[in-house]
């Protein structure tokens, strides 16, 4: 993703002389072509992220289009108040790019993980939050972000992610991209975990569950039209993100859902636990350990579908059983006879 980003940024800078790149002393040689071609429009701001965001605001308020690039936790959490005041309060058109979303830098440990960035940034008024799902989406999302009138957070993976799209998709911020149509469940993935969601969809298909797989690249603003359709059509909607369960895409969907009249679909949230993942190892190992791999996602989705089917069956039985109607109001149903399902059994990952 980062190579695609660097190429797309140079292309954007060729088209638009207002584009300026600020980076926080990372990306060894990644921006050499940009620096060679764009001169002072490339600026290494050093290891000083609070200042870098302020500089971006000053450029944006002067009519330029700054793009700020560093590792996700340093691009966001480190300088959150500067993003809030300098960019969001002023609606300054700057693009903040966090490379290494989620566990892309798994081996470097929790200092370099970004599992709270979406939660933090999506609460900021006027902020747009976009997580492209592959390199093609990165290119399209950068163009769309540069055209926005206010600040945008663009969350990237790292490098070498599988391609999902064959060519650059038509990406509109705030509009979900359906990659694979389905009937039973919707898998809504945001960011670099998108290929994992596609694989989970294939596994579900093999198990007889038709899953729609969606690149839900924009966490803010939500594609409400798609959500209305999805929660009406499907038995379950599954949010998939390489981010804490607190505050990210899953939370955004849950908030959206409870503020509406009841819709038929059940929401299942897949994300990381409220804990630092300090085990080291690769991104794939971290994902597997935390239940963010295709097998776990498919298994939990399938288990939910089965529980929902069982309950539907029990509802149907109950409505045919006249004795149920004479039960005293509030009487406790017998164990295993249609009691609400407990916490999702897969939900307590370490």
């Amino acid at each position: 993703m980062r190579n695609a980003f660097a190429e797309a940024l140079l292309a954007a800078a060729r088209r638009d002389p207002r584009v300026v790149l600020l980076m926080g002393d990372i990306g060894n040689r990644l921006f050499d072509p940009f620096a060679a071609e764009c001169g002072e429009r490339f600026l290494n701001c050093g290891i000083a992220e609070a200042n870098m965001i302020g500089v971006a605001a000053g450029l944006a308020l002067s009519g330029l289009r700054p793009v700020v690039y560093t590792i996700a936790p340093f691009a966001t959490t480190r300088c959150l108040e500067q993003i809030r005041v300098d960019l969001c309060y002023h609606q300054a058109p700057a693009v903040v790019v966090g490379v290494g979303g989620g566990f892309a830098y798994a081996s470097l440990g929790p200092t370099h993980h970004a599992c709270e960035d979406l939660a933090q940034l999506r609460t900021l008024p006027g902020m747009t939050v976009v997580c492209p799902g592959d390199a093609h989406e990165v290119r399209a999302a950068l163009c769309a972000a540069l055209a926005r009138p206010g600040p945008v957070y663009l969350r990237l993976g790292k490098k070498g992610e599988p391609r999902v799209h064959e060519r650059e998709p038509e990406l509109v911020i705030g509009r979900a991209l359906v990659l694979r149509a389905g009937r039973d469940v919707g898998l809504l993935a945001t960011g670099a975990i998108l290929p994992v969601a596609l694989e989970a969809g294939q596994r579900l298909a093999a198990a007889g569950i038709s899953a729609e797989v969606v690149s839900f690249h924009t966490v803010k603003p939500l594609d409400e039209a798609y959500l209305s359709r999805a929660f009406s059509r499907f038995r379950a909607v599954v949010s998939i993100e390489e981010h804490s369960l607190l505050g990210g895409l899953g939370s955004a969907l849950a908030e959206w859902l409870v503020d509406r009249d009841p819709l038929p679909a059940r929401l299942l949230r897949i994300g990381s636990a409220d804990a630092f993942h300090g085990e080291g190892g690769s991104q794939a190992q971290a994902r597997a350990r935390l239940g963010l791999d295709a097998a776990s996602i498919a298994a939990r989705t399938r288990a939910l579908c089965e529980r929902l089917e069982e309950r539907e069956g029990e509802h149907a039985d109950r409505s045919r059983d006249p004795r149920r109607d004479r039960q005293a109001p509030g009487a406790r149903p017998a164990r295993g006879s249609g009691a609400p399902a407990g916490p999702d059994p897969g939900g307590d990952h370490p």
Binding site: C45, S62, V85
Partner: protein, 299 residues
């Protein structure tokens, strides 16, 4: 070429054309000092009327604002969004009342607006909001934001080939913030000779003597060590301040950014407020307002 044409439009007394202190210097000094007294009288009244604090923080930077807005900045209040105007950022946003009073006096908006300062729905909030009135360049109030943003504006001027300068007013207490020193490290590396930091060194922060809280001294040597040209001036001498600020040239090339350490007295101009840090928060009563205005010559 564009710079020269714009300079004619952006008529300031000094910044773009005639040079600092054009005309009879004694008369100019008297005018500036009279404006400073008038601003102070307005400030005390604004605090009394609104119940808004930080009066003493405003009183300490009055001459800095007078020197900037009446001697140095290339600005035209009729064209407040001119892309080539000089920028003045009040990074110590809690002194907003002083900025508003200076902008009104300079003609950016009617002085009657000051009467609604810090009231609900007023265009003049207690701390500057984005674009709240013509002439306000940045929403501030959280400290340590102005210099990084000003650095970005100075860089933008260079990238766009524009002549403007950027002046950022900070408090000495504000220099506790790490982001100030992040910007202080970057500006000389980029040779931003069109950027100036003015430090209102009133030696107090909200609850204590600045020196007792953080080891700020020697402040001038710190800025010099960071690669800035640094000057110390009497922060209540508008002529000395104007001379210092005018060292930053419009349409200048790369060079060292300028730090002006303005030695000031918190609460300056009202005898019973001077150097008394209670007035960081206290609101003047009606008798105190009358006494202050009488001292300032605006009974």
């Amino acid at each position: 070429m564009r710079c020269q044409r714009t300079s004619a439009r952006l008529a300031s007394r000094a910044g773009a054309g005639a040079g600092p202190m054009a005309g009879d210097p004694e008369r100019r000094r008297e005018e500036l000092e009279q404006r400073a007294r008038r601003l102070r009288a307005t400030l005390v009244e604004m605090s009394h009327r609104s119940g808004a604090p930080h009066l003493a923080s405003g009183l300490s930077c009055v001459e800095i604002l007078v020197a900037a807005y009446f001697e140095v900045l290339a600005l035209d209040p009729r064209h407040p969004s001119d892309p080539e105007r000089d920028r003045f950022l009040l990074s110590k946003g809690h002194a907003a009342a002083a900025l508003y009073a200076a902008l009104a006096l300079r003609g950016f908006f009617p002085g009657s607006w000051l009467e609604r300062y810090a009231q609900a729905g007023s265009p003049l909030p207690e701390q500057p909001a984005p674009g709240c009135v013509p002439g306000v360049e940045l929403a501030t109030g959280s400290l340590g934001h102005g210099l990084p943003v000003g650095l970005g504006m100075a860089l933008a001027a260079r990238l766009q080939g524009r002549p403007q300068r950027v002046f950022v007013l900070l408090g000495d207490g504000e220099c506790n913030e790490g982001s100030v020193w992040e910007a202080a490290l970057l500006a000389p590396a980029r040779r931003l000779g069109n950027l100036a930091a003015i430090i209102d060194a009133n030696r107090w922060q909200a609850t204590a003597r600045s020196e007792e809280v953080m080891a700020l001294a020697p402040l001038r040597a710190k800025w010099e060590a960071f690669g800035w040209e640094a000057l110390e001036v009497d922060g209540h001498d508008p002529v000395a301040l104007a001379r210092a600020l005018a060292r930053v040239p419009r349409s200048g090339g790369p060079g060292r950014p300028l730090a002006v350490i303005a030695h000031t007295v918190k609460g300056r101009g009202v005898s019973f407020m001077e150097d008394d840090n209670n007035w960081h928060y206290r609101i003047p009563t009606a008798p105190e307002l009358a006494a202050a205005r009488a001292e300032l010559g605006f009974p």
